[in-house]
């Protein structure tokens, strides 16, 4: 337990989640022209006019770009959650107080 008052594994998961969300928002909010610069074929289509195939390629590329992050984050988050749930828990302060009152 250190830092923000949470276990290091959980802190890592939170950091990864925030970073992933930031990347996703940056990709989604970027202009089509800016996004197309990452793909030579999309940039060519965009410069040649409104070809529906450009939109199709962009949609597919963004989908395929996001999926590995989504999949790894989901699977890793599930394993971390299972790990966190199964750890031995210390009794809370309320339980300790109740036990102390019962003993006295």
């Amino acid at each position: 337990m250190s830092g923000w008052g949470m276990p290091s594994g959980r802190r890592l998961a939170v950091c990864l989640g925030v970073a992933g969300a930031f990347v996703l928002v940056a990709v989604m909010l970027g202009s089509p022209e800016a996004r197309a610069q990452g793909c030579a074929m999309c940039a060519t289509y965009l410069s040649n006019g409104q070809d529906p195939r450009a939109e199709a390629f962009k949609t597919s590329i963004i989908f395929l770009m996001c999926m590995p992050f989504v999949v790894v984050a989901s699977a890793g988050g599930w394993i971390l959650w299972m790990h966190w749930r199964s750890r031995p828990r210390r009794p809370s302060l309320r339980v300790l107080r109740a036990e102390g009152e019962g003993a006295s």
Binding site: P52, R53, E55, A56, F57, T59, S60, I61, F63, L64, M67, P68, V71, V72, A75, W78, I79, M82, H83, R85, S86, R87
Partner: protein
């Protein structure tokens, strides 16, 4: 009258000291159970690979669908929506019965486990049968795999999912046979859970494909 100065010491109660039990045996300590079982990690790894495989197929489908001005093409039949809605309901119900079977296995209720597995397998077979009959009708109306990108992407995407449902039904049938032989008594329900995770994945995947392909 005041007590003797040592009386307070005599009134003190001894503090109980909790001692760890002394291990007499020389055998090594049994290893603690891992928080996530190996079977679960194996199934999750398989599902990650499956998800990426279907992502590739969906990516290809998006290229053809979004890039085509008229979808579906005018000379080809529309997909049967009403029957597929009912079929979706059948598959979702099978997911619910599968979860019920896992809960029955956890509380060691063998009868409910066998019943849940049997109903789930039956619903899965029903889903496949309805899909097959609809495919026959579509082929009869001219929507074949060689009828253009519309037919090719439809049969590849939905056919791959149907193959996965078929594999899940075979797996479920094996689990049902083992459950009838009493293999999952006394908390040994790891195989049932692994099969259930895969089945729920197949159901969730169908929801995504149904929303994508049939709408």
């Amino acid at each position: 009258m005041a007590d003797h100065p040592t009386a307070a010491i005599h009134r003190l109660q001894p503090i109980p000291i909790r001692r760890e039990p002394v291990r007499r045996s020389k055998e090594p300590m049994p290893p603690a159970a891992p928080p996530v079982s190996n079977a679960r990690i194996a199934v999750v790894t398989l599902l990650v690979a499956e998800t990426m495989f279907f992502s590739g197929l969906i990516g290809a489908y998006l290229v053809f669908r979004v890039g085509t001005p008229v979808w579906p093409p005018l000379n080809l039949p529309h997909l049967p929506l009403a029957v597929t809605w009912v079929n979706t309901l059948v598959l979702m119900t099978s997911g619910v019965t599968m979860v019920g079977a896992v809960r029955a296995a956890r509380r060691d209720d063998q009868r409910a486990l066998r019943r849940g597995l049997a109903i789930t397998a039956l619903l899965g077979v029903t889903f496949l049968a309805v899909q097959g009959s609809e495919w026959l009708r579509l082929i009869h109306h001219g929507l074949t795999i060689s009828a253009g990108m519309y037919g090719a992407t439809f049969y590849v995407l939905i056919g791959t999912h149907a193959a996965h449902v078929l594999g899940a039904v075979v797996w479920l049938t094996l689990i049902l046979i083992w459950a009838r032989r009493g293999h999952f008594t006394g908390g040994r329900d790891g195989a049932v859970e692994a099969c259930a995770i895969y089945w729920v994945f197949v159901c969730a995947l169908w929801l995504a494909l149904f929303a994508l392909v049939y709408q």
